[in-house]
Symmetry: C2
Subunit: 124 residues, 2 copies
Amino acid sequence: MNDAMNEALGAYAAAWNETDAEKREHLLEKGFAPDGTYIDPAGKANGRQELSTMIAGFLDNRPGSTIEIDSEIDEHDGYARFTWVAKDADGNAFLPGMDFATFAPDGRVAQIVGFFGPIPPLGT
Amino acid sequence: MNDAMNEALGAYAAAWNETDAEKREHLLEKGFAPDGTYIDPAGKANGRQELSTMIAGFLDNRPGSTIEIDSEIDEHDGYARFTWVAKDADGNAFLPGMDFATFAPDGRVAQIVGFFGPIPPLGT
């Protein structure tokens, strides 16, 4: 991870916890490419504005919840993986997940593909 | 996972254990897009032929070793993640890993981004 990627990913992650639309969009300007894409099993967003709207929906539905990255960022060749956990307003984890990220040339996040839960063991 | 993706991924994985070049390339024809890409922390391959050559190098360096997928395939929207383990000729695991895969419209693997080991815990 170079510094630009690291800073971008930090701003991107912080945006998921920012209820103020203006502040959230400022974080996404720092961390997420204008035409970046986001997809997880529950939905997708094309571009920074759609992602901001998706985050607003998440935070509106679960007031007080937070999402934090809970692993190191494992990156090579501009591809990164990391885990995160979503917690409710009481701090109880309700969803663990993993993101796969790619980066634009300036270091901002270009694509997030999110997965929910751990990788399922064989036979499940 | 639809059937085409499932079959393609099975043929792709089998190719990693096939020392016979002709058989391996037949497996990659079934499972890997002609212009598919492969990258992991140790190297990269652009296209089916380069991947076959990379696999040959791996199997030449570690005679008798095998690689097998050891999780279910977790897929949504054409994006998949799964874990695998490389074992030596005596069956001892020497490298665990995780692949992130995307698929061509016909179901063949279009891109593999591989990672070695588990996702590193925070603070490591």
